[in-house]
Symmetry: C2
Subunit: 616 residues, 2 copies
């Protein structure tokens, strides 16, 4: 078979050898959530890289439904791993730096105890006697392994899809056992749509006449049609509509001549037939039932409130990632997790990565620069947190660790005088006292946040829409959540921050009323900076020249292509605050063209205003 | 069974009696697209209402994959029809007004010739000998029926989903046989994703051991598992993610105790099991294979160019409808059809109806007011076209038919003087010569278009984003396409119109460069009207009061909540045209506050400008 058509994210095409796999059996019975008990549990796992002396560089990777312990090649001659693109020396999850652990899950069919394992009580495979397991049961076994490896706290747990559910469960079940968690393309529970596909898949398996009620291990053939149908359905849900167009539309009517009982008339049919047939060779139908059931019954909370209750006790720093075209675990579900985590006031970052590759995007190279860069930066940030903790424990008195090593960014003192910029950042920094909590709305690449971080604040986080800016902020060690301000700040609790900053962003926001109301709900004080339409040069331009004033920083932007959509004077803003019942505590007026602050007639003489407001 | 859970758009739950159905057999052999031939064809059909004397009030309704001839009840005691919400006395497709015909499709299993019919050559059912049919073959049979009923031209053909594909085929195959066509939730060809679901469904049927290669009619049981799996998949794709949440999430873990071989643990599972089981009782697996194959091989064109070639010869007026949450026949596919039809310069309207009900939305009451209102208005518009044609044929000399019956809308002469409005419409109407083709961008409820229509123009059509405005325009007898101007006008050919009007819309558009470039590509002349920021009152407001000018018509709108996002003076626009190389042919400057036109210093004295431009 040598046809591009058949390539998929499922690089594990056949039952490869696990020559680097290790095996450990825990004799203590495992009590399961369903009430049953397994008398013993065997775990097959693989490790990569070296555990350091402080035993604090271990990263646990959780696999998706059809994966196994073989996350990556161990050497050139090794079989491909399912996440080779991300795990390896110098890669995103850098095995030169981290000790990476990946284990076949409980219920799986690649060595860890599952339906095809021998039940020590009967000497025969468990098959239908294998109890119904939960994600929690899977994680309990993973935790036994981590104990066994002598690791008291993981640097991070990371997983996508089913592995993302495991990661979520880890954080809630063993909150003190990891410094960071990376949850990719996952959710608090499946949508009814995703659940429905799993149900149809299970119906196809269990109603296949060769299923024999699950006792097919001694038969000539198991439920190969049902399992293949299940896999075909899976593959449709892993791809996006767009990626299917790209993959199949050019030769839609060109079937491939492959040996299969399934329809091959269309290119997409040949692909599905191939994927179905291959899967049957390497996977066990009972395992598929077991793991898909665990996935379907996972529920971190039916409501936002329940979700918040489950996440409140977690102690890790978070990175959530979703993909715009993922319809199996759609972005809004990651956003629900993000909102609940924000409500618990945890440190987190989030990005909905622009991709047309669907759910499988995290297994593909297409957007690796973006989401991979974020995972890399996040792991380094967590590593730094752990180092600081270690140093704090060693020295007891700590100086502001980062101010020494991280110099302020590329903004020399004189810069703002030349181009009339940055002076507003200086003023905003001055307005914020030490030991406060600050939220920066529309934080861009994190320049203001970085300045604030170098001061002693309790918490700084940002909201930004642009994906590359989110990545930049993460690289600066910051926490940033990708979101559209026009949708409000519903994730945040009332008065969760001392200051909420809206710096040179008000004029680009369509729903001014909403964003100001929200910033004053979420923050005790709001700091708003905006260009002042009342500036004398702008007034003259309209009054004398009869032309629309150009307020945009970038002088190439005129009325027809500026990003600004709202135009106001300082007095307009004052009137607005009066009308809304907002109190103005302080107004800093600047003439950034002259590089001076303005006290006389600011509505005429300042081109930028910084206003501190509150609800009363 | 009395549980809301089991309600679905599939109101035809069991094999109902077709007591009002009629039957006709055509003895002439039917040559099929695949090359085979059927020696004779029987058609089962139902009719509603009365054919009028001119035989020009017949509406042919095409059904979807699991439908049949029973589109609606014939009386109170009759079984429910599959589209009772839309067809009946006084309803959207008003049987007091129209003669409605609906026939079971070729390949179906409700009386019309299909796989379960007796092959006259063998005296046994066709089963696997039934040839592969196409949508075209289905339509050929429908056309025979229409001939048989003595109807030379239908008022309209209408259909959704598979019925939408039939409607498309009708228009291309028999272009002179219908005055109108309503194409709902359809496409020129399936997406690879939709195709993939059909393929998995067919694999489930043909790999069911009880399929017996299709020869199961004399067996105790046919491929009931495979057909049920196919139906479950279908039901998932007919619903949207949102509607599944609404239907299943509240009692997600509450299965129903129903007698079924399928999984019932989750509410959605019980629903799918029920739908699968019920379908098997009323539908034939071979018919499902036959009709889904016809659907999958339908292709009105692989490229936009091929599509345009297929549609160029059509002669009907069009209404296309899609639903925002339909992911089986997603809106972009209807938009491809709309764009191709626009390129052919046909008369058409289109709306992407806001709905969270998915593909099945057209079978549900939820948005009936909206899409139903559009279908009703469209049929009345087509009826009027047909009447005008008839009268033209009778009288040879025709006066402007509509000016007499349609008086100008609610805008008495003095109105614009009072509130400073409408005067710009008067001026625009004056600028447009008779017998020209006009496109109105952002046409609203069609007020300007209606004024233009009352003049002798060759063609007037509008683009509008707001759904209720689209409905209003349709009700005025106008053609309007729902689209976002910010996305450009790529559907239109170069210089397709004489005039393109952008009336008081420029200031609300973000991408000014794009929309002006597009209007001058599509039109020989562009007419742009906009509020003039240079008006003396606005200048004074900024210069003297230091407040942002309020240009918005509605005086409650200020800087923070105006819909305007672009602010320009007449001189700004002049400079812009110079920069872009656009030629200004004429500028009409108005002071609508005074109700006068302005000739002296328009940039200072006019609050509204109307400018006629072209590319050179």
């Amino acid at each position: 078979m040598n046809d591009d058509l058949f390539e998929s994210s499922d690089s594990v095409r056949s039952a490869h050898e696990l020559k680097y796999a290790q095996r450990v059996t825990f004799d203590e019975p495992l009590r399961l959530e369903c009430g049953s008990e397994l008398p013993e549990v065997t775990v097959v796992y693989e490790t990569y890289g070296q555990l350091n002396d402080r035993r604090d560089n271990a990263v646990f990777v959780c696999h998706a439904i059809s994966g196994d312990s073989h996350v990556a090649r161990h050497d050139e001659s090794d079989d491909p791993g399912w996440w080779d693109i991300a795990v390896g020396p110098g890669k995103v999850i850098d095995t030169d730096r981290y000790f990476v652990i990946c284990a076949n899950s409980l219920g799986g069919c690649r060595g860890t105890t599952g339906p095809d394992s021998i039940n020590p009580k009967t000497g025969r495979p468990y098959d239908m006697d294998f109890p119904k397991i939960s994600i929690g049961d899977i994680v309990e076994v993973q935790q036994r392994l981590v104990d066994y490896l002598g690791i008291s706290r993981l640097l991070a747990v990371i997983g996508g899809s089913l592995g993302g559910l495991m990661t979520l469960d880890w954080t809630a079940r063993f909150p003190d056992r990891m410094a960071g968690a990376v949850v990719i393309a996952a959710s608090a529970r499946l949508t009814s749509q995703a659940l429905a596909f799993d149900i149809v898949a299970r119906n196809a398996i269990t109603n296949d006449p060769r299923f024999y009620g699950g006792q097919y291990y001694d038969k000539e053939q198991g439920p190969v049609v049902g399992l293949a149908i299940a896999r075909m359905l899976g593959h449709i849900t892993y791809l996006s509509r767009e990626s299917m167009v790209r993959k199949f539309d050019a030769d839609r009517y060109t079937g491939r001549n492959i040996d299969t009982p399934f329809e091959t008339a269309f290119s997409v049919g040949s692909y599905l037939a191939h994927q179905g047939d291959k899967f049957v060779e390497r996977f066990d139908a009972n395992s598929y039932l077991s793991l898909s059931w665990a996935m379907d019954t996972f529920n971190l909370g039916n409501t936002q409130r329940e979700l918040v209750d489950r996440l409140r006790g977690t102690m890790c720093r978070w990175l959530f990632l979703s993909f715009t075209s993922d319809w199996l675990f759609p972005p809004f579900q990651s956003q629900e997790l993000v909102e609940a985590t924000l409500r618990c006031d945890k440190r987190l970052s989030y990005c909905n990565v622009q991709s047309d590759c669907g759910h499988d995007a995290f297994l593909l190279e297409n957007e690796l620069d973006s989401y991979g860069g974020m995972i890399r930066a996040f792991l380094q940030n967590v590593e730094k947190d752990v180092l600081i903790e270690y140093e704090e424990a060693e020295t007891t008195v700590v100086e502001d660790n980062e101010s020494s090593q991280e110099t302020p960014p590329d903004a020399p003192r004189g810069h703002f005088l030349v181009e009339g910029r940055r002076i507003d950042y200086d003023e905003i920094v001055k307005l914020i006292p030490l030991r406060t909590k600050v939220l920066d709305l529309g934080c861009g690449t994190g320049e203001l946040m970085q300045r604030l971080k170098n001061r002693r604040l309790r918490r700084v986080m940002g909201i930004e829409l642009d994906e590359t800016s989110v990545l930049e902020s993460l690289r600066k060690g910051l926490d940033v959540v990708q979101a559209d301000l026009n949708a409000g700040l519903k994730a945040f609790e009332d008065k969760q921050f001392d200051f909420v900053v809206l710096s040179k962003t008000l004029q680009t926001v369509l729903d001014v009323d909403l964003i100001l109301a929200e910033m004053l709900r979420v923050g005790i004080r709001g700091i708003v900076s905006f260009p002042n339409l009342g500036y004398h040069r702008y007034r003259k331009m309209l009054a004398e020249q009869g032309l629309a004033p150009q307020l945009d920083d970038t002088s190439t932007r005129k009325w027809h292509n500026t990003e600004d959509v709202r135009f106001l004077t300082i007095d307009d803003f004052r009137d607005y605050c009066t009308e809304k019942g907002y109190r103005i505590h302080q107004t800093v007026a600047l003439d950034t063209e002259q590089g001076v602050s303005v006290t006389y007639a600011p509505n005429l003489n300042a081109n930028v205003a910084i206003v501190v407001i509150s609800t009363k």
